[in-house]
């Protein structure tokens, strides 16, 4: 099922503050989209608006090109998993999962045995065999998470909306449930929208990432595009550690204000004038001294090894910047005369250029 959000505006009740500022978003059938952004960016607000839980001041939400006006329109067609799971505490796991079927009008409700069978199926799918008789209070976080998913999926919705579903889980469970969720999405052919503030999680699980900031969508792109062409300084910053260099473009070359940074050629079309270059710590290199006699002017202090990169800090004039090198190259020179930032992205007024 495709989802389309058109010009959604939502004001904070009683004020003019825009929680959602003219948000439009198209999610094609079968896509796995992650909404990311800092706290207060409007991710959850957007997700709740899509689910119809909060009203909006203007704009519309279309499901397979049909406008959805109330929660009732969406009932049973959209599965929603809350951040705190919102499991019914007084019902057993099986009754929780069956809820969406139990509340159907008598004419549409499946027979009791059919419901029980469906619950068994879902328990198996969620790897919760034998848990049907327990109450949610007796389950672990990961299990509750899966019960919430099973409950959302019981009525066979084509759309799954997840609000920070991994927030309360420990890192190991988090990783395994993440992969498992992606598999589930593919097996069931769902259209999934996931809200998270963890950009790594988003990069790993989603086909498309929507970066939000103060109620607006800053960029909507594949993880690869996002990495290569971040639309704004904020997106660049948000998706991972970045070092920025203020400077100026002169005659097609970027000259950084910092001493010891090598000038580099900018792409065509970047006009002369002030500019900001941003680069990931692992994309920088140190230029070795031309000869043994050269004065050693840059020194990288080691700060441990993580994920196949050796981490260093570089003293660059007044500031200290991070600098990573792959472990296999780490024995090579980590001191030299200048810093090469030729792979940096260039921004003017916060927007990507070039």
């Amino acid at each position: 099922m495709s989802i389309e959000v058109c010009n959604l505006v939502r004001l904070a009740p009683g004020t003019q503050q825009r929680l959602l500022d003219d948000v439009s978003l198209k999610v094609p059938d079968g896509a796995f989209v992650a909404l990311v952004g800092p706290s207060g960016a409007g991710k959850t607000t957007l997700l709740r608006a899509i689910a119809g839980l909060d009203g909006c001041n203007s704009g519309s939400v279309l499901l397979d090109d049909r406008p959805m006006t109330s929660v009732k329109d969406r009932a049973g067609r959209m599965g929603f998993v809350f951040q705190n799971y919102a499991l019914f505490p007084h019902m057993t796991v099986a009754r929780n999962i069956a809820f969406g079927l139990d509340v159907l009008p008598r004419g549409e409700r499946p027979a009791r045995s059919a419901i029980a069978k469906r619950v068994e199926e879902l328990l198996e799918l969620m790897q919760l065999q034998g848990m049907g008789g327990k109450h949610p209070a007796k389950l672990s976080g990961g299990q509750r998470q899966r019960v919430a998913l099973a409950r959302a999926l019981a009525t066979g919705p084509r759309v799954l909306l997840l609000d920070e579903p991994f927030g309360a889980l420990d890192p190991i469970v988090r990783r395994s449930i993440r992969t498992w969720l992606r598999e589930l999405h593919d097996t069931l052919g769902l259209t999934t929208i996931l809200v998270t503030h963890d950009q790594e999680e988003a990069l790993e699980i989603a086909d498309r990432i929507v970066v939000m900031q103060s109620g607006r969508i800053m960029q909507d792109a594949t993880p690869q595009d996002l990495d290569e062409q971040p639309a704004t300084e904020f997106v660049m910053e948000f998706l991972g550690e970045a070092v920025s260099f203020a400077g100026e473009v002169r005659h097609g070359r970027m000259i950084a204000d910092d001493a010891l940074v090598l000038p580099f050629a900018v792409p065509e079309g970047v006009t002369d004038g002030p500019i900001t270059a941003m680069i990931r710590p692992y994309e920088m290199t140190i230029k070795k001294p031309a000869s043994e006699q050269d004065v050693l002017s840059l020194y990288a202090a080691p700060r441990g090894t993580r994920n196949g990169y050796r981490h260093y800090t570089l003293q660059l004039g007044e500031r200290i910047i991070p600098f990573y090198r792959p472990v296999e190259a780490a024995d090579a020179q980590v001191q030299g005369v200048a810093l090469d930032i030729g792979r940096a992205r260039l921004f003017r007024q916060g927007l990507l250029c070039g």
Partner: protein, 283 residues
């Protein structure tokens, strides 16, 4: 249970400082203030011999008074359940103006001397009271019969239901309702299955507290009840009557029966509550 019992006898290893001392003090205190008076109550009625006791227990006026007390307390507590639930709901969820004032007013019956409530109710519902006069026009008599007793007991019992239910409602995440809506539940289904059901144990607790208060209530009832023997006389009043007649064995016999039946019904209510609250017990 067994663990804590063991801890008392071998408290040397307890991490809490002064554990044994404080436990001893607590037990002595409860013993002195609760067990001792209760045990005299158990012993005293038998001093006149079993025969006197038996005849006292066969007093039909006493049985009628006990029946009045228990039935009226039960009806009043039951009536308080829907009202108390709604009030707790409004306090927990509604953001109505004057909510704080309402919040304070609800506890008023607890603080008010019961005689004050009694006089207020009697003047309000009496044959010449503001409401009583209007109701009398329609041939409805509220005072000087059981309706009046129930009314008075509802007044004093309401805070117990509200205060038992309100925190539970408050702690019920709003997401539960939203989840139920999204899963296709209609409004009354959301209410019955997702809101009322988890609150049920608290409602039963509230019922139990209001009921217990209703049985023991004296001051607010006697002004409005009319206190006719066999009709609208409550058991606590009969105890006072017996005491004024210097019939101490008779008074204590009623007290004993009152005590036993109260204990029994409270235990019963507790059992029912536990039956419905199985889910909330930790593993």
């Amino acid at each position: 249970m067994t663990l804590s019992r063991l801890a008392f006898f071998r408290a040397g290893g307890s991490a809490l400082p002064g554990y044994r001392l404080s436990l001893t003090l607590t037990l002595a205190w409860t013993g002195f203030f609760i067990i001792l008076p209760l045990s005299t109550l158990l012993v005293y009625p038998w001093q006149g011999g079993p025969a006197a006791m038996l005849s006292a227990l066969h007093d039909s006026r006493m049985l009628a008074a006990l029946w009045t007390s228990f039935s009226c307390a039960g009806i009043a507590a039951a009536c308080n359940i829907p009202f108390g639930f709604l009030l707790a709901w409004a306090l927990a969820r509604g953001h109505l103006p004057g909510r704080r004032l309402a919040d304070a007013l609800i506890d008023l019956p607890l603080a008010l001397p019961t005689a004050v409530s009694g006089i207020t109710l009697a003047t309000l519902y009496g044959p010449h009271g503001w409401l009583g006069a209007v109701l009398a026009e329609f041939g409805i008599s509220v005072s000087y019969n059981k309706t009046g007793i129930v009314l008075a007991l509802m007044f004093v019992g309401l805070p117990f239901v509200v205060r038992a239910v309100e925190p539970v409602l408050r702690n019920l995440p709003q997401e539960l309702e939203e989840a139920a809506h999204l899963l296709g539940a209609r409004p009354w289904q959301v209410f019955m299955r997702v809101i009322a059901a988890p609150v049920l144990p608290a409602l039963i607790t509230g019922f139990g507290l209001a009921f217990a208060r209703g049985i023991g209530e004296y001051g607010s009832v006697i002004f409005i009840a009319g206190n006719q023997p066999f009709k609208s006389e409550i058991a606590p009043l009969l105890i006072v009557v017996r005491l004024q007649e210097f019939d101490y064995p008779g008074a204590t016999a009623i007290a004993l029966v009152l005590l036993c039946v109260s204990l029994l019904s409270l235990a019963l209510i507790g059992g029912v509550r536990r039956r419905f609250a199985l889910w909330s017990e930790p593993a």
